[in-house]
């Protein structure tokens, strides 16, 4: 029988390898409704889970019986000691099932996966955040990381746009950030309502209200696919170089481990090389934007 025979050396090492598709059990300990579609889950990881993430990385969230979905970690490493926050839009099977879950429920977590923001490289620079809509969810991780080591960075600018005032995410935190003297924040909505007194227009209409020093600025953006080209044009117009613009791209990262093929952008597996890329890294990829 084969069991008595030596294995092919090349494959031998994997016999005892870890189960890459087996999620760890985690518990929802809090959930907050942010908008009609988005909810933030606070998830407690098991104590023996060696979890440490970079801002911009994602996890695969399991609802057993429904499936898995890739969700970016929305809390910063500086505030994620055994507990992470996931901001989830109710849009598919898994996310709808998640939205039906309450505190105490068990979910599965795999990860973190992918490449996050190289924020150590951003130290000493001015940071310009330009998230659109749900794009704030992954950028919030980086934003709070920066705020928690604020002295290491130059200016921190946040230009945030949503479709309507009701769809602005993390309104409590926006208020806190607005009040900080070391954060320059501008908000906009595509369509205002009777209570909205701020800017109305797409996110690019905010750029004219700020001045930046392009040679020392890192721009970070994330949002719906249609937004990128307009934001990029603004950033190029300001003279920010391609290597100093970072984007977090959305793809269907089904396995998270560079095998299943769904997240490929040309030859690049987003789950391995991304989801965070500098524009210089993706500008040659036809399918990127």
């Amino acid at each position: 029988m084969i069991a008595d025979l030596p294995l092919i050396p090349e494959y031998q090492r994997v016999q005892a390898d870890e189960q890459i598709y087996l999620p760890r059990k985690a518990r929802i300990i809090d959930c907050r409704q942010l908008t009609s579609l988005e909810r933030v889950f606070t998830v407690e990881l098991p104590p023996d889970y060696p979890f440490s993430h970079r801002p911009g990385q994602f996890v695969e969230v399991s609802v057993f019986g429904i499936g898995e979905a890739p969700i970016s970690v929305s809390s910063s490493p500086s505030r994620s000691d055994g507990v992470i926050e996931l901001c989830v839009r109710k849009v598919g099977n898994v996310t709808s099932a998640l939205h039906r879950m309450r505190s105490g429920a068990t979910i599965g977590i795999r990860g973190p996966f992918g490449r996050g923001f190289p924020y150590e490289k951003f130290r000493g620079k001015d940071l310009l955040f330009a998230p659109g809509g749900l794009g704030l969810a992954p950028l919030r991780s980086l934003f709070n990381q920066v705020l928690d080591e604020r002295a290491l960075y130059g200016r921190v600018i946040l230009l945030y746009g949503a479709r309507t005032p009701a769809e602005l995410l993390f309104k409590d935190e926006l208020k806190l950030w607005q009040a900080r003297p070391d954060v320059e924040m501008l908000l906009t909505v595509d369509r205002g309502d009777e209570s909205w007194t701020g800017n109305v227009g797409v996110i690019t209409t905010l750029f004219r209200h700020i001045s930046i020093y392009p040679r020392n600025t890192i721009a970070v953006t994330c949002g719906p696919p249609v937004m990128y080209r307009f934001v990029l044009m603004e950033l190029f117009g300001r003279g920010i170089s391609e290597g100093n613009i970072y984007l977090s791209l959305e793809r269907r990262m089904k396995c998270g481990v560079g095998k299943c093929g769904h997240c490929q952008i040309n030859h690049v597996y987003t789950c391995q090389s991304g989801p965070v890329f500098s524009y210089a890294e993706i500008k040659g990829l036809e399918e990127a934007l």
């Binding site: 084969i2 189960q19 898995e68």
Partner: protein, 347 residues
């Protein structure tokens, strides 16, 4: 590790003995063609077969395999399922074995896939040397897969009354322990050499250029009008990728029992040719057009996979061309791209 010979008349007995300890699979005649099936009766095994609709990949990466099971009855728990049993795969063509070498690489690179490797480790491969082309769709010679010198445990060449068996591994040698073999003599080696040199001219080169130029040809062809033309013909049925020996993309789905307590997470084959493959939850489809999906497929086969894993993603078996309802064939696609570039190059 050496060459040994077995009389053809003794071969069924060898296979029969294997079935006592292993699941034995190999090509059998079925429905006017051939397919890999479980071999219970060794007389049904056909080592001299043109090709199969599905490649033997299905035993290493099954169309549907359980990755985990879970229960959801208040005490949610999940555990990995490692399927697979000691298997001997007999009659693997060299093109399909080249494809398995690629799969080995894919599933053992980066995060190692325990499910694939678990099956692979329990599988012994007895490959066969092809002596005549399968049909007009196969282009193994152009792709460099007409023969092979690694990846098998045993490799069989038909010498008329006998099979010459090259022993590739210790595991292969162990398989032969109970078989009636005799060591190869000088005249056997000479006969093997003449069979191998006579087979070579029987196979046509079907690409108009050397395969080493394929990756650069494809990178120059991103904007070729051919993709639009293919997109207009392609039905998006995914037959090409389903029958491909190197396609490994998959989907993962949860299935729940009627008791709503227990369930399993299964891996199933998926295809970049299906319209929802690159669609994200919000509904945005990053490869909406069939032309772009066809381009992605051919770029993967001839360039992306090679760059990532050092093996070509196409082994020239011709299955996709046979399966295609609108007759999209890799040979004509690659040759047409080459022709378009020749025109560009000509002053």
């Amino acid at each position: 590790m050496g060459l040994t010979l077995i009389q053809k008349s003794d071969f069924p007995d060898f296979v029969q003995r294997l079935t006592a300890n292993y699941r034995v699979v190999g090509p059998v005649e079925i429905g006017g063609g051939h397919a890999f099936r479980d071999i219970i009766d060794p007389s049904t095994l056909r080592l001299n077969y043109p090709t199969t609709i599905l490649p033997p990949k299905k035993y290493l990466l099954p169309q549907r395999e359980t990755l985990l099971e879970f229960n959801d009855g208040g005490d949610e728990d999940a555990w990995a399922v490692m399927d697979g049993e000691p298997t001997v795969m007999i009659g693997v063509h060299t093109c399909d074995l080249h494809a398995i070498l690629l799969l080995n690489k894919v599933f053992s690179t980066g995060q190692v896939d325990p499910h694939y490797i678990h099956r692979r480790n329990q599988t012994l491969i007895v490959s066969v040397e092809c002596l005549t082309p399968c049909d007009e769709q196969s282009f193994c010679k152009s792709m460099g897969t007409l023969t092979i010198d690694e990846g098998y445990d045993l490799h069989i060449t038909d010498l008329g009354d006998t099979y010459a068996i090259d022993i590739g591994t210790i595991r292969g040698k162990e398989l032969l322990r109970s078989a009636k073999t005799r060591p190869a003599l000088q005249k056997d080696i000479e006969q093997l050499n003449s069979v191998l040199s006579e087979k070579w001219p029987r196979f046509p080169y079907r690409l108009d250029f050397d395969v080493s130029d394929l990756p650069s040809l494809l990178s120059l062809s991103m904007k070729s009008p051919l993709w639009t033309e293919l997109g207009e013909r392609c039905l998006g049925c995914a037959s090409c990728t389903i029958v491909c020996p190197t396609c490994f993309c998959f989907d993962i789905q949860d299935e729940i029992e009627l008791d709503l307590q227990h369930g399993s997470r299964v891996r199933v084959w998926d295809s970049c040719q299906l319209d929802q493959f690159a669609t994200v939850a919000g509904g945005h489809n990053f490869r909406k057009k069939r032309s772009i999906r066809q381009r992605h497929r051919f770029l993967r086969k001839g360039k992306y996979i090679l760059e990532a894993h050092q093996y070509l993603g196409c082994v020239g078996c011709g299955r996709c061309a046979r399966a295609c309802l609108v007759k999209i064939s890799p040979v004509s696609v690659f040759n047409e791209l080459n022709r378009q570039q020749e025109i560009v190059k000509t002053p």
